[in-house]
């Protein structure tokens, strides 16, 4: 287990970074659609989490977490449109994604726009567990 509550950590950082009222905070909020974040805002949040975490978190690790074990050439096509296999993988870490709606339409550029606060919490928990397991190996 972690020495602190990841959900609370993310909550405090998101509220502080975005300056939103605490009452509006919900884990099902989507960063781009509901909170109007740009890519650098999300990075800012991630870097703040990184500073508070007891293990090394990197953006590269986040990318590996999202892609899972799907090979590069099978995750998306040459235009950056995420494949059925890529969508299936993303559905495991972003359960709110409607694969029927996004089939053949979700691009790499758009992918992070669909990330929710809950997805971020799960990702941080997963990466922390991975980092701690590696530290004890």
């Amino acid at each position: 287990m972690f020495p602190y509550d990841v959900g609370e950590l993310v909550r405090s950082i998101v509220i502080d970074t975005l300056g939103i009222p605490a009452a509006l905070y919900r884990t099902d909020l989507v960063f781009s659609a509901d909170l109007g974040l740009e890519s650098l805002d999300l990075l800012d949040i991630f870097f703040r989490i990184e500073c508070s975490a007891p293990v090394v978190l990197t953006v590269e690790k986040c990318g590996r977490y999202l892609q899972g074990d799907v090979p590069d050439e099978e995750f998306c096509d040459a235009r950056g449109v995420i494949s059925a296999r890529g969508l299936s993988r993303l559905r495991t870490v972003m359960p709110q994604l409607d694969t029927g709606q996004w089939a053949g339409k979700l691009t790499l550029d758009r992918m992070l726009s669909e990330l929710s606060i809950g997805n971020l919490v799960s990702m941080v928990e997963n990466l922390l567990a991975e980092g701690q397991a590696a530290a004890h190996a």
Binding site: L40, T58, V59, G63, R64, L66, D72, F75
Partner: protein, 133 residues
């Protein structure tokens, strides 16, 4: 892709407020974004992101910013250097060259990276440079 003309394989675009990049660097340091210490950090950041988009870099590579370096001064000419896993990936998907252009307008910087087939002339952009692979 016909909409870009027969010589252009793919275009990646990225636009960002220069203030946003500078604020992020002021808060977390240039190393957070793997950027060199220079007066115009938004420029290499935008070029790098546009290039990763043009390459359709999958998520595991999209955050490997340290694998792409931009050499050159504020006015160019610029050269992109790929290293590590991004270099290996670029070698597998590039069948020509990457050209890029950068425009500044109202505090916002926009970069376009254009992948072209080998032997074709890239479209004319202001302040364009070819990128050796």
């Amino acid at each position: 892709m016909p909409e870009y003309g027969s010589g252009v394989l793919r275009v990646g675009s990225y636009s960002v407020d220069t203030d946003s990049v500078e604020r992020l660097i002021a808060r977390h340091g240039p190393k957070a974004l793997h950027l060199p210490d220079r007066a115009d950090p938004a420029l290499p950041w935008a070029v790098r992101q546009a290039t990763l988009r043009a390459l359709a870099a999958p998520p595991r590579l999209a955050g490997r910013w340290g694998d792409i370096a931009l050499r050159g001064g504020a006015e160019g000419p610029w050269t992109l250097l790929f290293t590590g896993e991004v270099a290996r990936y670029a070698q597998s998907v590039l069948h020509g060259d990457v050209s890029f252009s950068v425009t500044h307008r109202a505090g916002r910087i926009t970069a376009h990276a254009v992948l072209t087939r080998a032997g074709t002339t890239p479209p004319a952009f202001p302040r364009e440079t070819e990128v050796p692979r």
